[in-house]
Subunit: 416 residues, 2 copies
C-alpha cells in the first residue's frame, strides 16, 4: 500500500431532472435529484468521489459548505487521514464557527457527509479494493478509529463496539456466501405518489417479472381513501407473499397516522415509513404502541447518531433507515449501524446514494456486524449516470467488484 497527499478538493453541483411524477411523494413534488459532489484529488491524480442527495434547490448551499470545510484536508496523507478519521470527522463537525449552524444537522452536516464519502472512496480506490472489502479487512482497532462515538457514552462505548466486533467474528465465515448470492432489492419506483393507479399496476407487474418480491408505495393523500385503495390494489396484484412497504413521507399528524395505519393493517404492510415528523420521537413511540404489530421505519431525515440513539431508546422505530448521505457519511453510518446492533434493530438503508454506496455497507453490516441483510431499496432512475451502476439481477443486488464505493459519475471528474 502506498500513500499520497491530498492536493485539491473540488465540488460539483450535479443535477438530474426526473421524468414526470418520478420521485414524487406526499411532501415533495417537482423535484430533481441532485448530488452535492466532492472530488478529492491526490498528488498522483487519484481521486475520490463523494455524493450526498438533495432535491435540487439548495444543492449549491451544500457545495459551498463543503468548500468551507475542505481546507483542512489539503496536504493530508490519505492513509494517515483514514487511520484516525473519527477524530478528523469530529473536528470538522465541531468547527468552532460552523457548528452553530447545526450542530450536526442540516446543510453543514450534509457537507461533512459528502467530504467523508469522498475520503472513503479515495481510500478504497488507492487500496485497489471495493469499499465492502476495505471495511471487512480492517482490524477492530482500525475500525473504531473511523468513528466518532462522542455523546453515545451512556449507550455505546468503545468497549461495546469491540465486544460486538469480537462476538460477530465467529459467524463471519458462515455469512460470507452473501458475496456470491447477493441479497434482495425492493423496488420503490413502482409507487411514486403522483403516478396514477394504472401506472402503478403496470410498473409493479413489470417489477414482479424482473424478480422483485418487495415494493414501496407512497401514501399520505389528503383524506386517506386514495392510500387505502392503492395499498389494497397493490396487495391484490403482488400477492400475499410480497413485502409491501408504505411511505407517508411525514405527511400525517399523530392522530391521522393512528387512524389510517389501523385501516391499513388488513393489507399487512411490511412496515410504515416516516408516518409523521422525523423529529417527533414521542409521536413515533406512541404510534408504535397504538398500531402494533404494524412496524415503523424511519431514518432518511434523522441527521445524526444522537437522534438515532434517542429514537432507539424510546422504541420509536423498528427498522433503521440510516442514510450515509444524510448522517455524516460512511463513518456515522457505521456508528449508527453499531448502535442498531446494540439495540437489536435491523438496518435497512434509505438510498440517498441510489444504492451505490449502501450496497457495500449492507455487505459489511451483514458479514462483520451480524445484521440481517434483509433487503436494500432500489431506485433506478439515475443508473445510467453512474460509471459502475449497482447490478440488480432478478431482484437481487450483486456484489460490486471494482475498487472504491461505486460513486463515480460520468463526466464528473477533477479539473485540476
Amino acid at each position: 500500500m502506498h500513500d499520497e497527499r491530498i492536493t485539491a478538493v473540488e465540488t460539483r453541483d450535479v443535477r438530474f431532472p426526473l421524468l414526470e411524477g418520478a420521485g414524487s411523494d406526499a411532501i415533495h413534488s417537482g423535484s430533481e435529484y441532485a448530488f452535492a459532489t466532492t472530488l478529492i484529488t491526490t498528488e498522483a491524480r487519484n481521486f475520490g468521489t463523494g455524493i450526498v442527495l438533495t432535491l435540487g434547490n439548495g444543492n449549491q448551499l451544500v457545495c459551498r459548505a463543503i468548500e468551507m470545510l475542505a481546507q483542512k484536508l489539503i496536504g493530508r496523507d490519505v492513509e494517515e487521514l483514514m487511520s484516525n478519521f473519527g477524530d478528523y470527522s469530529r473536528r470538522l463537525a465541531d468547527d468552532p464557527q460552523l457548528r452553530w449552524l447545526g450542530p450536526h444537522k442540516g446543510v453543514v452536516h450534509l457537507a461533512l457527509a459528502s467530504l467523508t464519502n469522498a475520503s472513503f472512496d479515495l481510500w478504497a480506490k488507492m487500496r485497489g479494493v471495493p469499499l465492502w472489502r476495505l471495511l471487512l479487512d480492517l482490524s477492530a482497532q482500525q475500525l473504531i478509529r473511523l468513528l466518532d462515538l462522542s455523546y453515545l457514552e451512556n449507550v455505546l462505548t468503545c468497549e461495546d463496539v469491540l465486544s460486538i466486533l469480537a462476538t460477530e467474528m465467529s459467524g463471519r465465515e458462515a455469512r460470507e456466501p452473501i458475496l456470491q448470492h447477493g441479497y434482495p432489492g425492493y423496488d420503490t419506483s413502482v409507487g411514486w405518489f403522483e403516478y396514477g393507479d394504472d401506472k402503478v399496476k403496470a410498473l409493479a407487474q413489470q417489477a414482479l417479472q424482473r424478480g422483485f418480491r418487495a415494493f414501496k408505495l407512497k401514501v399520505g393523500s389528503e383524506d386517506g381513501s386514495r392510500d387505502l385503495r392503492r395499498a389494497f390494489m397493490l396487495r391484490a396484484l403482488a400477492g400475499s407473499e410480497a413485502m409491501i412497504m408504505l411511505d407517508a413521507n411525514q405527511q400525517w399528524t399523530l392522530p391521522t397516522a393512528v387512524k389510517i395505519c389501523r385501516e391499513l393493517t388488513a393489507m399487512s404492510p411490511y412496515f410504515v415509513e416516516e408516518p409523521t415528523h422525523p423529529d417527533d420521537i414521542d409521536a413515533h413511540k406512541r404510534l408504535a404502541e397504538a398500531i402494533a404489530p404494524t412496524r415503523i421505519a424511519l431514518g432518511e431525515h434523522v441527521p445524526n447518531r444522537v437522534l438515532f440513539k434517542n429514537m432507539m431508546q424510546a422504541g420509536a422505530l423498528h427498522f433503521v433507515q440510516v442514510d450515509c448521505t444524510r448522517v455524516a457519511g460512511i463513518s456515522e453510518f457505521l456508528t449508527v449501524s453499531l448502535l442498531a446492533r446494540k439495540f437489536g434493530l435491523p438496518v435497512v438503508p434509505h438510498v440517498g446514494d441510489m444504492g451505490q454506496i449502501h450496497q457495500h455497507l449492507v455487505l459489511f453490516n451483514h458479514i462483520a456486524l451480524g445484521h440481517e441483510a434483509l433487503f436494500l431499496e432500489c431506485i433506478p432512475h439515475l443508473q445510467k449516470h453512474f460509471v459502475s451502476p449497482a447490478r440488480i439481477e432478478n431482484g437481487v443486488y450483486r456484489t460490486p467488484e471494482l475498487p472504491g464505493s461505486s460513486s463515480d459519475l460520468h463526466g464528473v471528474t477533477p479539473a485540476r
Copy 2:
C-alpha cells in the same frame, strides 16, 4: 392602517469581531458575532430588518438561503401577508426542494427565521407601534393565524391556544405594570470561558455595581476543577442571594455531567445550561433525575417546535431557552412559548438577537400568556451597532417605545 406591497428583499452578511475572549465558551472560540440580515422593502420605501445570529463562517450560507426563500414574498401586501403568516411560514418551511435540507433545522430554518423577523419588524413599523404592543393588540384569532401548529396536534391544538389566551386575558391588567417597572436582566458577559479569574471577578463586581443580581458563568473545562473553582469564586463574590447560572455549552457527556453537576450543587446554581448534546432528550431527562433539585435550561440549539415538544414531554428541561433567531423567527417563538405555557414551564430566551427582539417578546409572554418575566439574558457587546439598543438600567430591561422590533443596525439599510 394602510397597506403596501413588498418590492424587494435583500440580505446583508453583517459581522462584528469580538474583543479578546468575549463570546468564548467550552465549544466556541475565536468567534465573531454575525447577523444574517434580511431587509424587506415596500413600495413606499418602508423597510423591515430581520436578524439571525451565526458565529461568522457560514453566515453567507444563511444569506444565500434567505435569497432562495425570499422570492415568494415579492409583490405581497404586508397586512395581507401578516393576516395569515402561519400558513405562509409553513409553505416556506415545506418548500418541496429546500425542505430536504432539514426539515425545519439548520441553515434553511435560520433563513426562514431571518425572513420572518424582518416581516414582523416591517409590520410593526408600518403600524407605528413597538412589536410588543402590536402583538398585545391582536385578537386571539389574529394571533393564532401567525402560527404554524402542525405536528403539535397531540399536545397543542388551536383550541388549546384559544383557551390559554382566554384564561390569561383576565390577568392582563394586573400584569401590565411591567411596562413601567421593567424586568431583570442577567449578565452573561462577566463569565466568558477564556476570561481569567481576575477578569471574571472584576467584571462581576462592576455588574453588581450596575445593579445586576444574576450572572452566567461558562463552564465545561477539561477536568472540571477549573469550573468548580470559578463557580465557587463567583458565588463567594456575588453573595448567596445572587442567581448564578452555569453554562456548559454541550461540552459534557452524560456521565461527566452527572458527576460535575453533583459537585456543583453546593454553590446552588440557579440552573445548569446545555449540559450535553442538544439533541439528546433522553440524556437530559436522566440528568434531570440524577441531579435534582438542580435544574436544567436549554434551547439555543433546539431548532423547532417539534423537538421542543419532545423535550417538554420527556421532562428534559426546566427552563425553555427558545431563541427567535434559531427557531423559525418570532412566529415559532410564540408557538414554543404557548407550548411551554401548556407544560407549565418558564421561558427564558437565549438572546441570539442580543436581547433586542426578545425584550419585546418577554413583555408579550408575561402580559398575554401569563408567563413569569423571570429575567432576560444581557450580552452588551453589540449595543453600539443597533440604532435603538435595549436600555438596561440598574440591571433592569426598560420597555422599548419605538416602532418595530428594535432590530435596525447602523449602516444596514436597503440599497433599492
